[in-house]
Amino acid sequence: MLSQSDTERIATTISEAIIQRNLSDKSVAQALAPIIDDAIDNAIRHRPQRITRVIYPIIGPSIRKSVARALADMVQNLNQILESSLSIRSWGWRYQAWRAGMKYGEYVLLKTLDFRVEQVLLIHRETGILLHAENAAGFQVEDPELVSSMLTAVSDFISDSFSRHPDSSLDNIRVGDFILEIETGPSAILVAAIRGTPSKQVSQTLKTTLERLHLVFSREFDRFDGDRTIFASAADLMRPCLLIKHKEHTRPGIPWRALTMLAFFIGYGFWAGYLKVQNEIMYLHILDALQTSPGYVVVGESRNMPRLNIEVLRAPTSEPSREILNRLDTGNWDVAVTEHIAPLDMQEYLLPMIPSMFHLGRDTNFTRDGQALVVTGSLKETQRNNLEQNPLLKSVYSHIDFSSVEVYADQTPEEQQKNEWRQLKATIENIRFQFQPNTAELVSGEEQKIPALVANIESIRSLAEKIPVYHWQLYIVGHANSAGTDTANLRISEERAKLINELLITNHLDAELLLAWGAGNLPNSRLPEHQQRMVSLQLIHSPFIPGTEYP
């Protein structure tokens, strides 16, 4: 028992003593902590109004935090809906919504509310030790003790690293379609492992449950020494957190809106098609009306709905186009006719213009025979076809008379003959006669080339008279290979040339058209030795047209 003097003495020094002891170790704080806890607990129980007044400044920020959390949840839901609106999946959902006869928004909401809370963990905040776990039926438990500790470590790491506010904490972790929803209280953490997309109901339930847990176990949380037996009774409080939301199966209704839209589109398609056909019919009707009007020739037209531009050539005495159009039903077309007044009768007017229109030369002449167009002279076959099929000429003249015109192929007869000459010349000059070594004897079978050569030379002679080619001759040139002397080679090459010359004369060719001589061995010849024993042919002639180059 302390005396009055002792009490007074301690009272004067107790503050300094506490401060001094606190500087050396923390034993004073440790000693006072349970006393203060009990004092606060007692005060809350017996004088709650006073406590309310004291903690009022703390409640404001807490409420603000709660509201901020609610807003964050709302933004998360909105995000999900927006993502659903723009993703590929959304098109599947739109189709499913149509099949189910639901509004798309309702369907998205239904999809986002589909979830299952598979496990709820109550974790001691300070130690990270799992206090109690509640599992949904059939849920595979993945070592909740380690999960709890690691979650606490991660949460601490995140809070330390990224948050500047001491009260802020990790709210959720998402892995694929799996979410850990975390509610952090002053002494404990409640974690819900959720498959799917949770609704606000989950976080609300977690909040409420955590508050109740703190209310019931506040003393046990604070004095937790590792013994978790007492927390088995938390099961009843935690079980309501195992929420599950099933899809509601609705019977597909008749998709009136979609059907109406579809009917609208089909109707619009039919209507647009009908208008297009009507416009086409009307367009042909307008053109026909102008083309069949006396003295009218339609020379051009262009259209871009509703504008229709028509260019006509008409006789001065013919009816103006506006009067014709006034009588016509032009439908939706806005018709503009550009008139070119022809000063003469159309048949007479066109007559001198036809050669230049069809790029014809002076060999082709045009005259009139009544309503018919008469063509005289000569013209190519393609030119005749162009004249015959031209719509303008067909509309102006009753018919085109080609009976007095010489129609030839696209090449002139002269050109054809010259081409034929060139081909025959090339054929003749391609012929070689091969000889045996050191003799003027043909290699076996070479004499068989003679009949074809004779026939080609006869054709050449006939063509030379037609083209005409006045001076031409076949040079028959004998050759020898490098074996032997030059004299011997010259002699044997001459013999070879003369042999061919005689064979051709024997086949009734005029000797004057043939000229044979020996060239001996050509020292720079690149032909193989055995091929150099030969006779070659060359057709020499004067130009087709005197004074021009040789062909």
Binding site: L146, M150, F157, D160
Partner: protein, 166 residues
Amino acid sequence: MIAKKICLLGSFAVGKTSLIRRYVESIFSEKYHTTIGVKIDKKIVHCQGQDVQLMIWDIEGKDEFSVYRQSYLRGAAGYFLVVDGTRPESVEVAKEWHTLVNEQSLSLPFVLLVNKSDLFYEQRLKEENLAELTTMGWEIILTSAKTGDNVDKAFERLTTRLLEKS
């Protein structure tokens, strides 16, 4: 069943992770993998007639204390300070860890583990160093994660002290 959180603290590469692996899985590997952040394991140990579940926090070994995440220590019931017998400087790191824990008003039971005792000829810790720690009231156990020597004993000893305190 009682659950307790314990931490392993110490310099890098002193063998904290290997000790836990030896204790929990009875495995040792020569390969060194540095721990990033924290790794947590658990083991049930029977001590003083009851089962105790140890939640063992293997905390990243760094020598720059300013970057330690002190929140990892929160709620720990006790801890090991681990040093490497072949690296005297690791003792200084352990002392700094001890100071850091005390600064957080955590008067917790702890045991100093001098690891790598299997490297007999490479030991560089002097007797007087250890004697000094002993006089400071530190309990010291020589361990080898490689051979498993004293590893189980160390965990059982710390568990005993945890239970004595509570």
